[in-house]
């Protein structure tokens, strides 16, 4: 029997974002197979290497490591334990026993951006990021492209919550940023800000506007007020890694997953369906198909460190 494990990054496993998605993937696996897993939440930098080593020493495999900040450590530890399998989410380490899973967040963001542009009544949509780092710029950039794809002159406001990790956990500021954007005419906001997003959504509900969730499907949080969510299937990545290991089919290497691979997507469920017409849905699905087919090229912010395309 395999001994799977997960190491979450600093946000903690209930960050309502990708750590939590990793958690739900692992939980799903446990429920289906009954195989237990072990997990750990990093609370300071000093623990990363120690914990990863301890997992490896104790024979855990695969070790799923969530978060780009962990990449350097994975690189170190994976070298020392060539027989142990590692799965790194959101970053790339090129080693024969490491599977790196990165997501084309820009593609998912493009879709929700397009949908936002279709539904806005003021020709203005907003984006609120968490901490100001390249990964989040990538979301924002994809969103902007999607919105502009629908309407060239649309006004896309972008804000970042802050520059420290507390930016992931500041719903108050998230709410204020949202209000500021509403006051500037925005009526739909996409938040890629971890726990800060909760404040953004609440502000949208309070103001009678719409919000777009991120990472997991967050539509259920405020039924009828969440236009959609940009889902990033970290859970799937985690679960399938566990399953591959179980079946002895673990493959290392880079997995770049986008719309095509169902790695990212937009969420459509009973909570947001009432907001959308059949045309809307069709139009989004059409764009989705075009991206999958490569007819629409979505620029990745990280390629140029800017959102020029």
């Amino acid at each position: 029997q395999i001994k799977p494990s997960v190491i979450y990054d600093m946000g903690g496993k209930f960050d309502r974002s990708f750590n939590q998605a990793s958690y739900s993937g692992a939980e799903a696996f446990r429920k289906e197979t009954g195989i237990k897993y072990t997990d750990f939440e990093i609370t300071n930098e000093g623990q990363r290497e120690q914990v990863m080593l301890r997992f490896a020493q104790r024979g855990f495999s695969p070790i799923v490591v969530a978060g780009f900040q962990q990449a350097p450590i994975v690189e170190k530890v994976a070298k020392q334990f060539p027989k142990t399998h590692f799965v790194l989410i959101d970053a790339v380490v090129d080693l024969p026993n490491v599977r790196s899973v990165v997501f084309k967040e820009q593609e998912g963001s493009f879709l929700v951006g397009a949908l936002a542009a279709m539904k806005t009544e003021h020709d203005a949509v907003g984006f609120i990021g968490g901490m100001d780092i390249p990964l989040i710029r990538k979301f924002g950039c994809g969103y902007e492209q999607g919105a502009k794809y629908i309407s060239k002159d649309i006004n896309v406001l972008q804000n970042m919550t802050g520059t420290t990790p507390s930016a992931w956990n500041d719903p108050t500021k998230g709410g204020e940023l949202a209000r500021a954007q509403f006051d500037k005419g925005v009526d739909i906001i996409y938040a890629a800000a971890g726990g800060t997003g909760v404040g953004v959504y609440q502000a949208a509900v309070d103001a009678g506007k719409l919000a777009i969730g991120v990472d997991s499907n967050q539509n259920y949080l405020h039924p009828g007020k969440m236009l959609t969510s940009m889902v990033k299937r970290v859970d799937v990545a985690v679960k399938s890694a566990f399953e591959d290991e179980m079946k002895g089919k673990f493959t290392p290497g880079l997995q770049v997953v986008g719309l095509k691979e169902n790695g990212v997507d937009w969420a459509l469920d009973e909570f947001n369906r009432p907001l959308l017409s059949e045309e809307d849905i069709a139009k989004v699905q059409d764009i989705r198909a075009k991206i999958v087919a490569g007819d629409i090229k979505v620029h990745n912010w990280e390629d140029t460190k800017s959102c020029e395309y």
């Binding site: 600093m10 072990t38 997990d39 750990f40 939440e41 609370t43 300071n44 930098e45 000093g46 623990q47 290497e49 120690q50 914990v51 080593l53 301890r54 020493q57 780009f68 900040q69 990449a71 350097p72 959101d90 970053a91 901490m131 100001d132 780092i133 390249p134 990964l135 520059t163 420290t164 990790p165 990280e302 460190k305």
Partner: protein, 380 residues
């Protein structure tokens, strides 16, 4: 009646009383563990084993955390001697990390560890000192409350660091909030790299630097004229003026040294343990320095003991989380809070009765002797 009676024996004051206080804190912590439905005895056993075992490097990791606490604890303790409450250790260490990063980025491919280490230590001390000296200057010359300014400087340091790191230092194309690794020939080797048999840990030679700093601080405070001036300014500013000690100069110098000490924490993290600059690498160690200093009674030796205790708490907490995953990592914060409360704020609760008992015991002994004397003298 001899006035020496006013003090109880040393081992009671610095041994027995703190031990009892610690025990009390742990008893209350146990209640919290019980509330969340776990077994406190098992939990503490795991913590103790986790913090002291040699096999998995638990003890080594304890020492690694201890190194951080020694620096930030010393920084707070020294400032306290001058009557200054330096809450800015976090920011000072943070900015010092930037200093190290600059040195490493510039020279790590050309210099060996023997040249790099002194350079890095100097850089961290200098950057930390700058971040400490500004609030010190504002306090001394402008009367700006040092508590407020150091808090503000922590926030400013965060913004500065995030800008420097994300915009300038982190390697292009990467998605990271950390710098590249420093060239491994130019950084401190870790303990397990020097001792082939040792288990992995982040322990590195910075511990020696920390202990040397303890000794230096002791020397500074109790054997130098500057230290004398610092203590005078701290406990009686009027007497300082009377003695011709320039209080504002002393405050500024103290804050510079205090900042430098806090800054050297970055040597352990950025140069020793992580080998690269990471966003938020201080992880609250700067704040913990306050508790460490207070528990160590602002004495370098006490700081070492308190650092060991907190280091063990951190490492034990990691282990606890490892073994009992239903215990949230924040449990360690609760224990820390209680330890600080009982050993610091409620000092008298235990100290009063215990020391009182010893005093009464001594008094009774002295009385007996006195009575014997009086019998000879014939009373009064």
């Amino acid at each position: 009646m001899s006035p020496i009676l006013a003090e109880s024996p040393r081992w009671v004051r610095i041994g027995l009383v703190p031990a009892l206080q610690l025990a009390l804190a742990l008893v209350i912590s146990s209640l919290v563990v019980l509330i969340i439905g776990e077994d406190p005895v098992q939990a503490f056993a795991i913590m103790i084993r986790g913090a002291t075992n040699l096999e998995f490097g638990g003890f080594h990791s304890t020492l690694y955390y201890t190194t951080n606490f020694i620096f930030t604890g010393l920084a707070v303790a020294l400032a306290f001697h001058a009557g200054l409450f330096n809450i800015g250790g976090e920011g000072q260490a943070y900015v010092a990390g930037l200093g190290i990063a600059i040195v490493c980025l510039l020279f790590d491919s050309t210099l060996s560890v023997w040249l790099m280490a002194p350079l890095v230590i100097l850089a961290s001390a200098a950057f930390g000192a700058i971040w400490g000296v500004i609030p010190g200057y504002l306090q001394a010359k402008r009367g700006s409350h040092i508590v407020v300014t150091t808090i503000m400087f922590n926030f400013i340091a965060m913004a500065l660091m995030s800008y420097a790191l994300v915009v300038h230092i982190s390697p292009l194309g990467g998605n990271s909030t950390d710098s590249r690794y420093w060239n491994s020939d130019a950084v401190f080797p870790k303990w397990n790299e020097m001792m082939p048999d040792a288990p992995f840990s982040l322990l590195n030679p910075t511990l020696i630097l920390a202990l040397v700093c303890c000794w230096l601080v002791w020397l500074l405070v109790w054997r130098t004229r500057l230290g004398y001036a610092i203590r005078t300014v701290g406990s009686n500013p009027h007497a300082a003026t009377y003695a011709g000690i320039n209080a504002s100069r002393t405050i500024i110098i103290t804050m510079a040294i205090s900042g430098a000490l806090a800054g050297m924490m970055a040597v352990n993290e950025v140069y020793g343990a992580q080998g690269r600059l990471i966003l938020n690498f201080t992880s609250g160690f700067g704040f913990m320095g306050i508790a460490v200093a207070l528990m160590g009674r602002n004495h370098p030796f006490g700081v070492v003991l308190a650092s060991l205790l907190f280091g063990a708490l951190y490492q034990g907490g990691t282990e606890l989380q490892f073994e009992i995953s239903s215990i949230n990592p924040q449990m360690v914060l609760v224990i820390q809070g209680l330890v600080v409360f009982f050993t610091g704020a409620l000092d008298r609760l235990v100290r009063g009765p215990v020391e009182g008992a010893f005093l009464r015991y001594q008094l009774a002994k002295a009385k007996k002797a006195e009575a014997a004397d009086a019998a000879v003298a014939g009373g009064n």
